[in-house]
Structures are given as C-alpha cells and as structure tokens.
C-alpha cells in the first residue's frame, strides 16, 4: 500500500514551559492506511494528534497535507476530523442532529442531510429509529457509532481517533475494533488512531508507531514490531517477553551475563553477531520457548525451577525461575500443556529463528 504520503510531518515539536511533549517528530502517513500510534500515558501521543487536527498549536516544525502546508491552519479550516476520547457528542442535540452537524455547517439542504444521516446510520448498523433519539438514551456502544457516523458525515481526508474505545467493556471493545477495521476497508479512508493498548493496535492497524517521551521509538508493521523490536521498551510494551542481557564472546557466540544461557552451536548466523565484550539484549517470546525433555537440544537453553502454572483459557502460562533468581515466562496452547509439576526442575530451549537481538541504540 505504498503511495505518496497524504500527511507529512517534519521536525514537529511541542514545548509546554520547561516540558518537551514532542521532540522533533518526523512521520509520513500514507493515503488509505490505518496507522496506530501507541504509547504509555504522557508519551505525547494525545498532544501529537491534537496538533494534527489543529486544536493545539505546534512550537516548531512543518506539516504537509498532500502539497499544502497546514501547520498554521486552525482546526475548523482543516479537512480532517477527529473522534474524541469522550466522543464529544452534543447532549442538547438528537442523534440525527449530531450526525448532520458538519453538513449543517456547510449549509447543505435538510433533505440531503437527512438522506446522508440515514445512510450513515445504516453503515454503522444503527436502526433508523435512532435518528430522533437523545444522546443520553444511547448506550456506550451506540454512542461510539453515532460519533463515528458524525465524523464520517464530515467526510474528512484523514480520520483521527483519540482512544475512543478506552471506556468500553472488554467484549464490546473487541467487537468495535473489528468493526472499525472493517469500516476502514469499506471506506478506504486514511485512519490515524491513538491508544495505549497494543492489542487494540495489533488488531486494527496496517502500521504501528510506538511513542515514548515525545519521540517515535519504532514505526513498522505489527508483526515486525512484535518479532523484531528495536529496544527493550518496545519489546516490553508489546506484551509478555523474556529478555536476557548477553555479551559477545571471542568464540563468536553469545554468553548470558545474568541468566546462564547455554548456546549449542558456535555459528548462530549473522543476526546474532556481536563483537567481543559488547552487550545487548536477547529476546524470546514466551510462546516460542519449549520444554526440553531427555537429551533434546535447542540453540539456546536455560535450566530452572517450574514455579507456577496459570490457565489463561486457550493458553497456559508457566513461570520458571532461573538459577540466578530471574523469572522466565513460557506459554503453551491448552492442548500442548506441559506434563511436569510445579516444583520440577525443567530445561527450556528455543531456536535462533525465534530469538531476536536488541542491539544497543
């Protein structure tokens, strides 16, 4: 889906007094993509999106929408629209009036407005009877749909989302995530979504940008971020992970500096090359770690004590304590449950294709 960027940011910074909320951000957003910006609270993602829609002014930098510079343009003159975290539905207007609001501002005639509102209610699986409802009569999920319909009525070049699903309960959120992805495909619009939930990002996005302290830590497709994070921060942010401090050795392999990792072969391939004495972080996801039995071998091996077992529904998670006291996580599908008992001494192993070396930045 490579195309000319619809939105381009160059050196965008935002300073609040002494505090730098955004630090020289560069970003290209492509036409029609679903980009999710993920970060913990305080990482600057909300500030960024508010600058992109024009509610907040930037301190420095340039923003292009296609060929036009827009960083000085106020929000009401930008052809973009945002779904707010609080949804910001107008409580004194009906569902229909909310959806028609952007059309009313454009002085579209009432009949066309009504027709478009009906279309959008349909698109968002809301019955026509909702047109006359008051906002306070709608449930949380229904309000999400109304807010989305209103934003689509605006027909923006880019649709921004400021974690609108965060207040919903788990099941409804999961459903709406999928619907949102579906809506993205059907409308073909560019969606930019911010959230602190990586799961949400993984389900919906074409690309994910991980934000930390006002900068992007990594921007890539979901799988890339999951399998090959550029930093410990990204690795830990992307769910449960095992991280080991390692160092290059003279024999061309790696040695664990905290947990005792045994490396089976001297040649691990170029991905694992590390100069002598240079330290890095070795990463392996819990689902890639195997329980080794008998004289099974793996490229990387760790011994430890099985401390606990947690049933997670479709999967089972194990905590294994290595000899230095560090804990490792292992995850198996329910049907591949490990037969050992808590308290057993176990051998864990994984192969080089599941390992990833995070080199010092």
């Amino acid at each position: 889906m490579r195309s000319e960027p619809i939105l381009r940011l160059e050196g965008v910074s935002k300073v609040f007094g002494e505090f730098t909320a955004l630090d020289q951000i560069d970003l290209d957003i492509h036409e029609g993509e679903f980009l999710t910006i993920v970060g913990p609270s305080g990482s600057g993602k909300t500030t960024l999106i508010r600058i992109l829609v024009g509610i907040e002014e930037l301190s420095k930098g340039k923003i292009w929408l296609r060929d036009a510079r827009i960083e000085k343009l106020p929000a009401n003159l930008r052809p973009t629209c945002m779904v707010f975290q609080s949804l910001a539905l107008f409580p004194h207007k009906s569902v229909g009036e909310n959806i028609e609001f952007p059309l009313k501002l454009r002085r579209q005639n009432p009949l066309d407005r009504k027709a478009r509102a009906d279309e959008l209610l349909d698109l968002l699986h809301l019955p026509q009877s909702f047109y006359d409802k008051r906002i306070h009569e709608c449930s949380g999920g229904e309000r999400q749909r109304v807010a989305l319909a209103r934003a689509l009525a605006f027909d923006p070049e880019i649709l921004f989302f400021d974690e609108p699903l965060s207040a919903l309960d788990f099941r409804l959120r999961k459903n709406l995530e999928k619907e949102l992805k579906d809506l993205h495909q059907r409308t073909g619009k560019t969606f930019v979504y911010i959230t602190h939930s990586l799961e949400e990002a993984m389900v919906m996005s074409d690309r994910i940008a991980i934000m930390r302290s006002g900068r992007f830590e990594q921007i890539a497709v979901a799988d890339e971020i999951y399998a090959r994070p550029v930093s410990r921060f990204v690795a830990e942010f992307m769910g449960e992970v095992n991280l080991f401090s390692v160092e290059g050795t003279a024999s061309g392999t790696l040695v664990g500096t905290e947990v005792d990792i045994r490396v089976a072969s001297a040649d691990l391939g170029s991905g694992m090359n590390l100069a002598v004495g240079v330290s890095a972080t070795l990463m392996v996801r819990p689902e890639a770690v195997q329980f080794l039995s008998g004289d099974d071998d793996a490229d990387f091996m760790v011994e430890g004590l099985l401390k606990a077992e947690y049933a997670l529904g479709s999967r089972t998670q194990y905590k294994v304590e290595a000899d230095n006291g560090d804990e490792l996580a292992v995850e198996k599908l329910r049907e591949d449950r490990f037969s050992g008992q808590v308290g057993d001494r176990v051998r864990l192993g994984w192969n080089v294709e599941h390992a990833h070396l995070i080199r010092p930045g």
Binding site: N76, L77, P91, Y131, D132
Partner: protein, 269 residues
C-alpha cells in the same frame, strides 16, 4: 424506620417549616388587620390597605424604582456573568487564578461596608447618588454571584464539545451559537433569576447608594421606624408576590427551553 422515629421526624420537619414561614405569614396577617397597630389575635380584618397600596403614587414610584434597578441589574448580570463565566471556567489564560479569586471577593464583603465604600467613592468622583448608582452598587455584589452560577454550569460540560464543533468546521461564532450558548443558557436564566431576587430584596446597598431615590425595602424600613400603618405589611406582601411571579416566569422559561430543544429534535424529521 420505627413508628415513633417517623413521628418525631415529621414533627421536626413541621417545626422547621413553621420556623421558616411563620414570620412571613404573620406579615400577611398584619396586612389584613383593620387596626392601625398589629395585635394578636386580630379582631377585625380589612383588605383596604391593599387598595391603598396599589393606588398610592408613592408606592407606584417605589415599584418603578425597584423594578428599574432590579431589571437593569438582572440584564447586566446575565451578560457580564456569561462572559465572566467563560473567562472563569472555559479559557486557559495567564491571570485566570487571580481573576477567579478577585471576582468572588465582593461577595465576602459585608454589604453595609461595601455600600459605605461605594458611597464614598461616588462622592469622590462627584457623582450624585440616585437609583442609577444603586444599580452599580448592586452589580458589584450580584454580578460575581451570577458569574459563579454560570461558571458552575460551564464547568459541568466537556471542553471537547467545543473542540469537536470547531474541528468539524465551526467558526468561533458558530461554536458560541450552536454549542456554548445552548449549553450555558439554563445557567444564564437561573443567574438572572437570582440577580433579580437579590436586587429586588436588597436593603443595605440601596440604603447607602440610592441618594434621594428609594427602593421598596428602604421604604419598608423607613416606615417601620416612623409612620407605621398596615400599608407597610401590605406593600411587603405585594413585594413577595412580585418575587413569586418572577420565579414562576423563570420556571416557565426553563420549561419552554427544555420542551423546545426536545421538540426541535422531534420535528427535524
């Protein structure tokens, strides 16, 4: 709840209500007494003092003065309060904290002191006190209250509503007309009601600042001190009725606002 507790609570409630309303009711009795001085029990009733009150040109003048002051104070407080509340609650600006404290300070001043201070100030400026200066005096005390009432309303709605409207293309004026105005309107109406009632019943500020003019409460006091007749309580009761009428008007206005906003969405089809 036990039976005895219910009875005790009911009794307590009755006493509280009696305590609050008995004085007003006794004014009512005094106004319909035929005797020149109030004595209980009332021996002979008469309503002639109401007729006299309505016919009296003095009372008519008082009414006009009091109404002029109260209505002017109401309108100005609503306007000042509306914009004051926006500054108080909606916009982030440098001296907002200072503004929030300073604007409320006049409420804490004893009104007699405030009245005296304003009188001295008018004298210093060479302004001759009249009902117009009383308007200014009332405003000093009442417009902060109006601001506060509207600000509470302004605090209760999500700033994102205005941002969202703006984001969808609304100009500053349209945001005011479509979002801020309608959402603050109930607060503005109740601020207006309060402003009227507070001005209508105000005595200490009027006493210092009306000069040769006189408002209803001032006259009531003056007549109490010398020249009492049942005309005094009759005028008092008439003044209470004015407040009640206004309160009803306010309630009806609120009710119309609500009904209209509901009807407008139903009629939109």
């Amino acid at each position: 709840m036990s039976r005895s507790a219910r009875i005790a609570l009911g009794l307590y409630g009755m006493l509280a209500i009696l305590f609050l309303y008995l004085p007003i009711i006794s004014v009512g009795f005094a106004s319909v007494s035929k005797a020149r001085y109030l004595t209980f029990p009332i021996k002979r009733y008469a309503t002639k003092w109401y007729g006299k009150a309505i016919e009296s040109s003095t009372v008519q003048d008082l009414l006009v003065t009091s109404l002029s002051v109260a209505l002017l104070v109401t309108v100005i407080s609503m306007v000042v309060g509306f914009f004051g509340a926006l500054a108080f609650a909606r916009y982030q600006w440098r001296f907002r904290g200072t503004f929030q404290k300073l604007i409320l300070l006049p409420i804490f001043f004893p009104q007699a002191v405030l009245g005296l201070a304003l009188l001295l100030w008018f004298n210093a400026l060479g302004i001759i006190p009249s009902w117009k200066t009383a308007v200014v005096a009332h405003l000093v005390w009442i417009s902060p209250i109006a601001t506060l009432i509207i600000a509470i309303r302004a605090y209760s709605f999500d700033p994102a509503l205005e941002e969202a409207a703006r984001d969808m293309g609304a100009s500053t004026w349209t945001v005011m007309k479509e979002i801020t105005g309608p959402l603050l309107w109930p607060g503005v109406v109740s601020a207006g009601l309060f402003a009227f009632l507070l001005s209508w019943g105000n005595f200490p500020l009027s006493l210092f600042t009306t000069g040769a003019d006189s408002t209803l409460p001032e006259w009531l006091y003056a007549k109490m001190v010398s020249g009492y007749s049942p005309l005094v309580p009759s005028v008092g009761i008439l003044s209470i009725f004015t407040s009640i009428v206004l309160l009803l008007v306010g309630v009806i206005v609120m009710w119309i606002i609500r009904a209209r906003s509901e009807a407008s969405s139903a009629n939109a089809r």
